[in-house]
Symmetry: C2
Subunit: 96 residues, 2 copies
Amino acid sequence: MSEHVLAELRKQLDELNLQLLTLLNQRAKLVREIGEIKKKQGVNKFDPEREKDMLDRIVKHNEGPFDDHTVRYLFKQIFKASLDLQIEEQKKTLLV
Amino acid sequence: MSEHVLAELRKQLDELNLQLLTLLNQRAKLVREIGEIKKKQGVNKFDPEREKDMLDRIVKHNEGPFDDHTVRYLFKQIFKASLDLQIEEQKKTLLV
């Protein structure tokens, strides 16, 4: 019986992983769009103030089970990956 | 004009962050449920084989802009946070 339940939960987990993947890539595209506008404005892409605002807003909505510390940590990793992606893409543009 | 577009994109980003937060916490709950079943079965919670399968399945569906390496890295952080959460909760149970 529990094997059946386990298989079902794992299926749900796999689906959830793919939903997360979709959102992460959507987020990366959005950050790229924002970066392009900021570039045109001649503004620096990395904005620690805005990053802090985003993290505060996220944590304010956190209902767990992840604690606020973990949520901040995970989102910082996501933010950093998005910024790294922009830097990588900019490098490629410069090399062309 | 671009200020208006920027404000709109940032609003979308804030919404996307909250959707991500919801999914991350849903995922943590699901992993907890799976952990409880495995505990009853007397099976170890950390299963490197299953983790590898999940990562392979995720990367197979990755259409970018994040590259596979970044996707693996981000999901490993998420997996680790979920496992840490279970360990923390188990400790609390043992202390009660």
